[in-house]
Symmetry: C2
Subunit: 329 residues, 2 copies
Amino acid sequence: MKNHLSQPFSVSKIYEAILQGHVGLLAKAITLSESEKSIDRKKTGTLLTRLLPHSGRSIRIGITGSPGVGKSTFIDAFGKYATSLGKKVAVLAVDPSSEKTKGSILGDKTRMEELSRDALAFIRPTASRNAQGGVAEKTREAILLCEAAGFEVILVETVGVGQSETAVRNMVDFFLLLQLAGAGDELQGIKKGIMEMADGVVITKADSDNEKRARQAQVQFQHALHLFQLPESGWKPTVLTASATQKKGIAEAWKMIEEFRKATCASGFFEKNRQQQQIVWFHQSTEALIRAKMLGSKKMISQMKILEQKIREGKIIPSVAAQKIIHAL
Amino acid sequence: MKNHLSQPFSVSKIYEAILQGHVGLLAKAITLSESEKSIDRKKTGTLLTRLLPHSGRSIRIGITGSPGVGKSTFIDAFGKYATSLGKKVAVLAVDPSSEKTKGSILGDKTRMEELSRDALAFIRPTASRNAQGGVAEKTREAILLCEAAGFEVILVETVGVGQSETAVRNMVDFFLLLQLAGAGDELQGIKKGIMEMADGVVITKADSDNEKRARQAQVQFQHALHLFQLPESGWKPTVLTASATQKKGIAEAWKMIEEFRKATCASGFFEKNRQQQQIVWFHQSTEALIRAKMLGSKKMISQMKILEQKIREGKIIPSVAAQKIIHAL
C-alpha cells in the first residue's frame, strides 16, 4: 500500500487531480499526508503548499457528542441536507481510540448509509497515529486537501475522548455539541470543558415520547449557557432540538450555522479566528517536533520514567528533575 | 536586594529556620526561589530537595473569582476562621497581570486587613516573572516552602486572567470559585472552562438586599453543575452562599472543604491527584526549559515571527513552517 503511494503519483498529477475534484486521488493524497516517512512528508509539504491558495473556501464544522447520542445518524441527515442544497460535503472522523484505520473506513460507510452513497459526499476517517503532531495535524492537512478538491462543507467528527475535542475545536469554525435529553444524571453528564467550547448544542432524538423531554433539556441547556461569558466570537450559543430519523430540526441546525457564518464574517471574527488557528497549528507542530527530537530517544524516555518514579516517591522536586533532563540533553 | 540574598544565608541556615517556622527566612527563601540567576536556582534546588520530606502536610485551596466579587474580603474572613481553629494559614497570590511585586505585597496586606495582623498567617504574592516555567512553577515552589514551615492551610489566590486558573487548578487540592449573585448577564458571566474546574462555588456578598438573589443564584448554579459529568475525584461540586462582612457561610465553606478532604483521602484520590500534579509540573517544567533553550534566542524568535507573518498571508502551511524551524535548529 505504502509503496505504490510514493511511486506512481507525482505531486503535479495529484495536484491537478485534486483541483478537478478527483475523489480517488484526494483519498490517496490524504493517505500520503498520513505517512510518517520523510519522503512522503516532503511530498505532502510540496503538495499542500501548492494547494494552499485553493483552500479555505468552506465552512468547517466540528461535531461532538458521547457515544449513543446518535452522531452518525445526525451527520448522515445533516450531510444529506447540505448535499440537497448542492453543497459538496466532506466528513472527517477523528477517532483517537481506534488504531485500525481500515476498519473505521468500512465502519463509517456503514454508519452513514445515505451520505456514503451520495456523489457529493466524501467520508474519511483520519488515521489515528499518535506521532509528531498527533492526529490533529493530519486532520488539519486533510481539511486543506478536501477544500482544494472543492468541498464546501467540512464536518469533523470527534468521539469525545479526552483531548480530541480541544484539538478539533482548534481547527473548525463552528463547534457543535450533540446531547441526549434527560437520560439521567450520569448519561446526561458532559465532559469537563466541552459545553463551554460549543457554539451550538443540538438535543438529539427529539421524537415521539422523547420530544417533551428534549424541549425541557433545551431550556435547561440554554439557561446553563447563559451563565457563561459571551465567547470572543460575539456569538451567543444556541440550543436546538432535532430528530435525524424524522428529519426534523436539521434545516434549523443548518440555518444556525449559516447565521453564525454571516455574523462572524461581518464582524471579521471568522477570518481572524482562522488565522489564529493557523498560528496555533504552527506552534503546536513546532513544539511536537522539538519534543520528539529531544525527548523521543529511548534513553531519554527511560530517564524520564526513572525521574517520574522518584517524583512519585517524593525523592526529587519536579523542577530539579527537569533541570536534570536539560543537562542530559 | 539580590546580592544580600545569595550571600549571608547559607542553605543549611535557611533550612533550619524554615523547619522552625521562621517567617522572615521563609519570605527570603521564596524570594530566592523567584530569582532566575543560576546560582540561586541551584541553591533553591538544594533547599527544596532537603525540605521535600517535610512538605505536603496541608490542604491546598485555590480561590478564583472576577474582580469585584469580594475575593480579598472572603479570604480575609476565611483565613481568620482557619486561624481561629489554630491552623497556620499561608496566602499566595498569583497575579500575572501585575509586574510590580513590591506594590502587590503592600496591596495584599492592606487588602486582607485582619489576616495580615494575625500571627498564624503569612501573606505573600508570587512574583509574576514569565520566564521558564512562568509564575506557576514559582508558586508551586512557594507552596512547598510554606508547608515545610508548618503552614497547614495554603490559599492560592488567582485573579482570573486567562491561563492562571488552569495553572492554579493544577497545583491545589480544592478549587473554589467565588461568584456574585445576579449582577446581570455580563457581570455574571464566567470565563470559559472555569466553572467546570470548580470543586465548590461560593456566592459572595449574600447579605441584606442581596440575600434572596444569592439563594436564587445558588439554585441556578447547582442546576448548571448538575449538567456536568462527575469529576474524577468523585466529589459533587457544592454551591454555598456567604457574607464575608457578616461572617456568614464562612464556617460552611470550611466544612465543605474538610468534607472534600475526608472523602478524597478515603478514596485515595487526594494522594493520587497530588502525585499526578507533580508529574504534570515535571513535564511542564521540562518543556518550558527545552522551549527556552531551543526557541529563546533572538534569531529564532525573529524567524518564527517571519514565518507567522507568512502563515497569516496564506503563503506557507503551518506544518511546513514548523519543519523549517526544526531544520534551522
